[in-house]
């Protein structure tokens, strides 16, 4: 059976496709022939006709005249608005006059349109649809309930989880609502209805649906029953009262609007779509009721807030109360005079302010929670090492916890998050206002109206300012964070690599601010229609002039930035630049000051630096030489050097700085009269001199103790024969030897050292 149906469906689909194909193929089928000679003659005759020519001329003139009429001057627009309000006032007075008859008129129309039987039957149908919707929703709820209950009953520590849970809960509610809508409105739309019944039943269904949707949204933010899923920082009682107030008011509004809609359809007779006075009078009555209800609910809510919550001071609470009450009154007045655009503007701006505040409070709360959570976690992670120790250890820990507070990574993101939310809020508000005023900012019209121009300027400037603000906040907070993390080195200690950031970042901050400021000013000016090309040109001419004049200065600064980025030197390091040596004492943005170990201070602009040698990086190898006679026991030397190396390493002052302790490298070379034994060691920069001093001393002492003599320069005079020398001969030999000794010996290069 099903198979047969499927085949039929397929066949129908194929037929449908075929028919459309055939239809579309048939359309171009009759080929268009070229106009016949007769037609052309006729056409030329017509063109030559004066009447036709006149008509064409008029059409063209009309089109010309019609174009500028679309743009109304402000005066005309104002006049139009005044007329509109005047008409509304007349309508209102008519409504006032017909107020007493209104119920009768509406009831009569109602009776005309619907017989009692029909009314009851439509109610039956509406009830059936509601049952369908409710049944479907109940069904979907049975499957989603376990998840919902799990969400409601479990505890969420982290704000992200909490937000996710709250959103899931609302999504589940909306799934149910969607099922309800599908069931009720779907069943409703399968039947053709007379127009009035259609409006009536649809208004009822949509009304129920929207009240429930608003309820679900309220629950998302307030969650009166489940405090841990509440997004807004309010207490249990407050959440319940506010939720009920919002719910009640929205239900009233929706009920009133749908009822007026139905009445309007009942009573409207004229084509212009203006409300009949009777309906208008009922609508005004409803509006007054709504205003009273709004004021009452605001009063109740704030009375409850005063009783149950102490988040706000009395003064600010009173201010908010006045704000909301005034807003309701303003909305009512603007509605009364039918200035719809103004009404929506007032409403959206008036609601945006408290929403902004609430969002701000919410971000603050979220960040506070995250930070508290992080703190707790960090504190839990820190103590275990000392946890087992005794009470005094705990006291110690407390003491140590105070000077070094745990720095959480979130605090700096707080302003960014707040700016982002504000940014999104402003954009949403701007778009809403644009839609309200029907400014058509999305259309690229040739002749924009005043409102369009105003909106485009406002939106452009606001966007520029907001984006610049966002970037500035982000940049400033991250720079400040880096700067705050930087600790200036204590006296006598070499600064770490972050020291150069302390030089660079303030500069970067200033550059960022100037750039953003100039960009914002430019874009605001350009959106206002000011031609910024001359400003740009002037700025660039100035830039070039200054650039030429301060060429070397610019060169210094720029190359300085790159030296700093390269991390070529830091304060306190011993460097050599060309012929100058010394310790880096000060780094400014243009120049570098180094102090020679004998006290002289050299100042070097960065632009002058070609290359530099840094003696203070990571490690230093020092090589020493000892001259020993040829008959020295090299094994013994090696042993002694090893022992001395161990002693040096064990030294309490500099032992830690020795990376590779003293060791013998064996005989490095042979000289005329002695062997050269090489030793070397590796230390941290700056420590090598001290180690060398001790190494020399210890090795010499050890050699002496072990009977190893240092080689001395001596002259051996070999005399043939073995007769004793005469005094004369001895003198001659001494003189000859003296020559050899006094031969100028160039000493090795003595390194220039501090």
């Amino acid at each position: 059976m099903i198979g047969l149906m499927r085949v039929r469906a397929w066949a129908a689909a194929v037929l449908l496709i075929l028919s459309t194909v055939v239809a579309s193929a048939q359309e171009p089928a009759p080929a268009i022939d070229a106009p016949s000679a007769n037609d052309l003659h006729e056409f030329t005759r017509l063109l030559a006709d004066d009447r036709i020519q006149n008509w064409l001329q008029e059409q063209a003139n009309d089109a010309e005249a019609a174009a500028p009429q679309n743009i109304k001057s402000i005066r005309e627009q104002l006049a139009e608005a005044t007329d509109h309000v005047g008409a509304r006032v007349a309508d209102l007075s008519a409504a006032w006059a017909s107020f007493s008859e209104a119920p009768e008129v509406i009831a009569q129309k109602w009776r005309e349109q619907l017989t009692p039987d029909r009314r009851v039957r439509s109610l039956t149908f509406a009830l059936i649809f509601l049952f369908f919707g409710a049944g479907l929703e109940w069904l979907s709820r049975q499957y989603t309930n376990p998840l919902r209950r799990r969400i409601e009953f479990s505890t969420f520590k982290r704000p992200r989880e909490r937000l996710f849970a709250a959103l899931t809960r609302t999504a589940l509610a909306f799934v149910g609502l969607t099922m309800f809508a599908i069931g009720s409105i779907g069943a409703f739309s399968t039947i053709d209805w007379p127009p009035l019944l259609r409006t009536l039943i649809l208004a009822a269904l949509v009304g129920i649906l929207s009240v429930r949707a608003i309820n679900s949204l309220t629950k998302l933010f307030l969650a009166p029953r489940v405090p841990q899923l509440r997004l807004l920082p309010v207490g249990d009682k407050m959440a319940r009262v506010t939720g009920q107030a919002i719910m009640f008011f929205s239900a009233m509004v929706i009920f009133a609007v749908s009822l007026i809609d139905v009445f309007d359809q009942l009573t409207t007779s004229d084509v212009q779509g203006r409300m009949a006075p009777e309906t208008l009078s009922v609508a005004v009555l409803f509006a007054v009721l709504l205003l009273v209800a709004a004021l009452l609910l605001i009063a109740i809510c704030f009375a409850q807030a005063r009783k149950h919550s102490d988040a706000l001071s009395d003064r600010s609470m009173a201010r908010w109360r006045i704000h909301l009450s005034l807003l309701s009154a303003l909305v009512f007045v603007t509605w009364l005079f039918d200035v719809r655009a103004l009404m929506w503007t007032v409403l959206s701006i008036g609601l945006a302010i408290p929403i902004l505040k609430l969002l701000r409070a919410w971000t603050d709360m979220t960040f506070d929670q995250v930070i508290a959570d992080f703190r707790a976690k960090a504190e839990r992670a820190a103590p275990p090492a000392e946890a087992s120790e005794l009470a005094d250890a705990v006291i110690e820990e407390e003491e140590s916890a105070d000077p070094a507070p745990i720095i959480d990574p979130y605090e700096t993101y707080r302003p960014i998050a707040q700016r982002l939310i504000r940014f999104a809020m402003f954009i949403a508000l701007g778009l809403t206002l644009a839609l309200i005023w029907n400014a058509g900012i999305f259309e690229n019209s040739e002749n924009p109206t005043v409102a369009q121009r105003l909106f485009s300027i406002l939106i452009d400037s606001a966007a520029a300012v907001l984006i610049a603000d966002l970037i500035w906040t982000w940049g400033k907070s991250s720079i400040d964070r880096r700067l705050a993390a930087y600790k200036p080195p204590e006296d006598g200690q070499a600064p770490g690599p972050e020291a150069r950031m302390a030089t660079l970042l303030p500069l970067l901050r200033v550059v960022l601010m100037v750039t953003l400021l100039s960009m914002v000013v430019m874009s605001v000016l350009s959106s206002m229609g000011v031609n910024i090309a001359p400003i740009l040109a002037g700025a660039s001419v100035m830039g070039i002039a200054i650039g030429f004049g301060a060429q070397s200065l610019v060169k210094d600064v720029v190359s300085g930035i790159f030296f700093l980025v390269d991390d070529a030197f830091r304060v306190g390091e011993y460097v050599e630049i060309d012929q100058l040596r010394g310790t880096v004492e000060k780094i400014s943005i243009r120049s570098l000051q180094i102090r020679h170990h004998r006290g002289a201070v050299h100042t070097l602009p960065f632009g002058e630096l070609k290359s530099m040698t840094n003696y203070s990086r990571d490690w230093v190898i020092m090589k020493l030489e000892f001259r020993v006679p040829f008959d020295t026991d090299l094994q013994l030397v090696k042993k002694i050097v090893k022992k001395v190396g161990a002693e040096l390493k064990a030294n309490e002052h500099y032992g830690d700085s020795i990376l590779d302790t003293l060791k013998s490298q064996g005989v490095r070379r042979m000289e005329e009269f002695n062997m050269v034994v090489g030793v070397k060691f590796m230390t941290r920069p700056g420590e090598q001199w001290l180690v060398r001093r001790d190494a020399y001393q210890k090795v010499r002492d050890a050699f002496e103790a072990n009977g190893i003599r240092m080689a001395e320069r001596n002259v051996k005079v070999e005399i043939a024969g073995d007769q004793p020398l005469t005094e004369e001969e001895r003198k001659a030999v001494t003189a000859a030897a003296q020559d050899a000794i006094t031969q100028p010996v160039t000493p090795g290069v003595v390194p220039d050292e501090p």
Partner: protein, 388 residues
């Protein structure tokens, strides 16, 4: 295990309530299935009528049905009378109120049909549809309300019963769609049949105005009444109906009044109740522990909504200032079934007499029997006792 036997009345009442309710629900289902045939045609409805609807009016089933209805109604009133609080969960409240208004709603339909049957008038679906949609649309509307209320009440009872049955945990997912499909189809059948009747009536009206250009004749369906021999007068039926309606409403009102009088007269003590790690709550001594939790929005597991059936509301008594009342037979039965230890009681059945009481929940608040497939909670101190 404590062998003390409390009063058995609670157990008997509960059993009678569920079985009479189930019997009534089966009848309603069969009747609705008959109605749902209206999706196809009136003839289909009438063809199935002897098997799905009339069988319930047979000499054996008819009295049984009537007595089940009466018993169920009175047991419901008794339950209302016994309730210490009406503020529990929404489903319970819906079940209670729908139970109260079923009888008044049903009276017109049931007595009307019965009287027609006694009078020997055939009241088939064709006649019924015309009556409900053309002649008396307000009674038709009443039928839709009745159907919704009866079905909601029946389902509320059925599903709280099923949910408390551990063996049903995998079946429930299949029963839910049926529970929606039956009334929806029935309403569809009702609406479809009604639409057919309305279209026919309109066509007839148009034909009559065209043919005779007569003044507007309301499309009045032939009244199913007016038989040749009236054994029961129309007036009698009307009186009986209104009497049933008023008496049932009066009984319900009386129950509520009696309940509030009883509550007002009952001396109550203040109970300080501590639940697990939560803050202690202050309640009255006439509330069961479960009701106290619900009133204070303290989440607590209970699958059968406090009927002492499922055992998921079980709590371990940590400390109690005064001795607690002995468990009734109903509570004992469930406790024995779940194999609970000495210090475990059912929160829905335990009504402390006052003072401070600290309890520990055995199940998480969002527990359902489905969870057993994933993890077994540490229910009892001696798990060897758990029967299959």
């Amino acid at each position: 295990m404590n062998q003390a036997k409390g009063p058995r009345s609670g157990l008997i009442v509960r059993t009678m309530r569920i079985w009479s309710g189930l019997f009534l629900l089966i009848f309603v289902t069969s009747h609705l299935l008959n109605l749902s045939l209206g999706v196809f045609s009136l003839e289909a409805m009438d063809a199935a009528r002897p098997y799905l609807s009339e069988i319930w009016a047979s000499p054996m089933l008819g009295p049984l049905l009537l007595s089940a209805l009466v018993i169920h109604f009175f047991l419901g009133l008794w339950a209302i009378y016994r309730r210490p609080t009406l503020r529990t969960n929404p489903q319970d409240l819906v079940q209670l109120l729908s139970g109260v208004i079923v009888v008044p709603l049903l009276a017109t339909h049931a007595i009307g049909v019965a009287s027609l049957k006694i009078n020997g008038v055939t009241f088939d679906y064709a006649a019924a549809t015309r009556f409900f949609w053309l002649a008396q649309p307000q009674i038709g509307l009443l039928q839709v309300v009745l159907l919704s209320v009866v079905w909601v009440h029946g389902c509320a009872g059925l599903f709280t019963w099923l949910r408390s049955k551990e063996s049903m945990r995998n079946m429930l997912g299949w029963i839910y769609p049926i529970a929606v499909a039956v009334p929806v189809l029935a309403l569809l059948g009702f609406a479809e049949a009604g639409r057919g009747v309305l279209v026919d009536a309109q066509a007839a009206q148009r034909a009559s105005t065209q043919a005779y250009s007569a003044p507007t004749v309301t499309a009045e369906a032939p009244r199913p009444a007016a038989p040749a021999v009236q054994r029961v007068a129309y007036q009698t039926v009307k009186t009986a109906t209104s009497q049933v309606i008023w008496w049932s409403l009066a009984l319900a009102a009386l129950t509520f009044v009696a309940r509030s009088v009883k509550l007002a007269l009952q001396p109550t003590q203040v109970v300080l109740l501590k639940h697990g790690d939560a803050q202690p709550i202050t309640t009255q001594s006439n509330l069961s522990i479960l009701d106290s939790f619900k009133q204070n929005h303290q989440p607590h597991a209970s699958l059968c909504e406090g009927r002492g059936r499922c055992g998921t509301c079980a709590v371990r008594i940590v400390s109690s200032e005064f001795p607690l009342p002995e468990p009734t037979a109903l509570e004992m039965k469930t406790l024995r079934r779940i194999g609970a230890a000495e210090d475990v009681r059912l929160a829905c059945q335990l009504t402390p007499s006052g003072g401070f009481l600290e309890v520990d929940p055995l199940y998480p608040a969002d527990y359902s029997f489905k969870d057993k497939d994933f993890e077994k909670p540490e229910l009892v101190s001696n798990p060897a006792e758990v029967p299959a």
